[in-house]
Amino acid sequence: MITVKNLHKSFEDNNHVLRGVNYHISPGEKIVIVGPSGSGKSTFLRCLNLLERPTEGEIWFDGQCITDERVDINHVRQHMGMVFQHFNLFHNLTIMDNIILAPTKLKLQTVEEAKENALKLLTRVGLQEKADAYPASLSGGQKQRIAIVRSLAMNPRVMLFDEPTSALDPEMVGEVLQVMKELADSGMTMVVVTHEMGFAREVGTKVLFMDGGNIVEENTPAEFFGNPQAPRLKEFLSKVL
């Protein structure tokens, strides 16, 4: 579904953040990415939907090379949902309008269809009565669940999560992880950067360890946590577990 070939990314100040990443993600997989701060996890994820333009390499999505200059990136992004650490709900819009903005403005659904769909999704995460509220009146956990719903309203084929629970108070982490688990069970292809090792173990089909701008180790959760190979991964796990 997504194939990454020799992906490099450097920023202006000449720091080489991604150094030739190769990876393949099949439909239905839940890829969990862990690694120390600054290792390039976010940059990798943001390259997948081209929020960051790779400096070198190719990304293929559903048989299309999306790093090609001629590809309409807005169209590609409609099929890739992204959930951010800081939720990024639109402050100026109600929850309902946050959810239906993209589907309606991109003329994928009529306003009625979009609203009906939004209510269904909101009910799924238990927040239907917040439809007319503004983001400011919600807790962090509620905001993040809404952010997930907003992405799902586009019927994406893959969902990218960048540390979705890192900005939350501890008591709200569970409700967001629960929604993500349900989403995983529904068969969604997911790529998740997180520090929640429990989630990685339980939900991941593969766990990746990134360090120094590359994927250092990749394995099933059982092997990854039970039998780590790379010394840097062993060290990392000894710190976080």
């Binding site: 929020l51 807005n74 992004r77 992204m82 990024n88 639109f90 403005k105």
Partner: protein, 236 residues
């Protein structure tokens, strides 16, 4: 006691000469009208020019360098900010628009062009102050750059921009006191003329100053009210 009475009588006479005699109060009112008219239309022109300049300034080439349009906007802002507004007004009146005999129009244009440079910075800052995450969320949903601006960034920037725009209007209102340089009878010039006609400076000048002060005080109060209301409805 007598001294006080004499003094009061003298003040009364001066006030009479400065404001009542020959219906002079009408001149102040007319002057104020010109001041407000020029400030108002200049503000509108300034907002239009400033908004266009702000977007020009924000445009970047694919490699992140400032675009050609951004360079033009920067040059415009540099020139306006680097020269006195009195000179700009004189240059407009005597050189660039010397064919145009409508002084008010020239004044509105001159002040509008001047104000545009400052409004550009206000609008640009207001847009940049919107969290980058808002744009990223919009783009990640597949919205275009334009749609993200239109539905997400600009509505939020609007709130950032209103209070400083109000301040800019107050500055503009006071700047129009130089209209006398092109022989427009604004409030300041009227006061000055009455001073030289009556050989009395105190009443006309202090009177005019008070009028500016009261109007700006009212504007400030309204502005603070609006700012408070914006903050209350700030859904962040």
């Amino acid at each position: 006691m007598d001294g006080l009475k004499l003094w009061l009588a003298e003040v009364g006479r001066k006030a009479y000469v400065a404001f009542i005699e020959q219906d002079r109060w009408k001149l102040y009112l007319k002057g104020l009208g010109i001041t407000m008219e020029v400030a108002f239309f200049a503000a509108i022109i300034g907002i239009i020019i400033g908004t266009v300049l702000a977007f020009m300034k924000l445009s970047v080439k694919r490699n992140g360098k400032p675009s050609f349009l951004a360079r033009i906007a920067n040059a415009y802002i540099d020139i306006i900010r680097g020269t006195p507004s009195v000179l700009q007004l004189l240059i407009m009146w005597f050189i660039i628009l010397s064919f145009c005999r409508n002084k008010i129009l020239v004044a509105c244009l001159s002040f509008g062009i001047n104000s545009g440079a400052y409004v550009a910075e206000i609008v640009r800052a207001g847009i940049l102050a919107v969290d980058k995450g808002q744009t990223e969320a919009g783009r990640s949903l597949g919205l275009s750059q334009f749609q993200t601006m239109r539905y997400i960034v600009i509505p939020q920037a609007f709130k950032n921009v209103l209070p400083p725009l109000g301040n800019e209007f107050i500055v503009l209102l006071k700047e129009t006191a130089i209209l006398g340089y092109v022989a427009l009878d604004d409030l300041t010039r009227v006061a000055n003329q009455i001073t030289s006609r009556t050989y009395e400076a105190f009443m006309p000048l202090i009177g005019a100053a008070l009028i500016y002060f009261v109007i700006i005080k009212i504007l400030t109060i309204l502005l603070n009210k609006m700012e408070r209301r914006l903050r209350k409805s700030d859904n962040r």
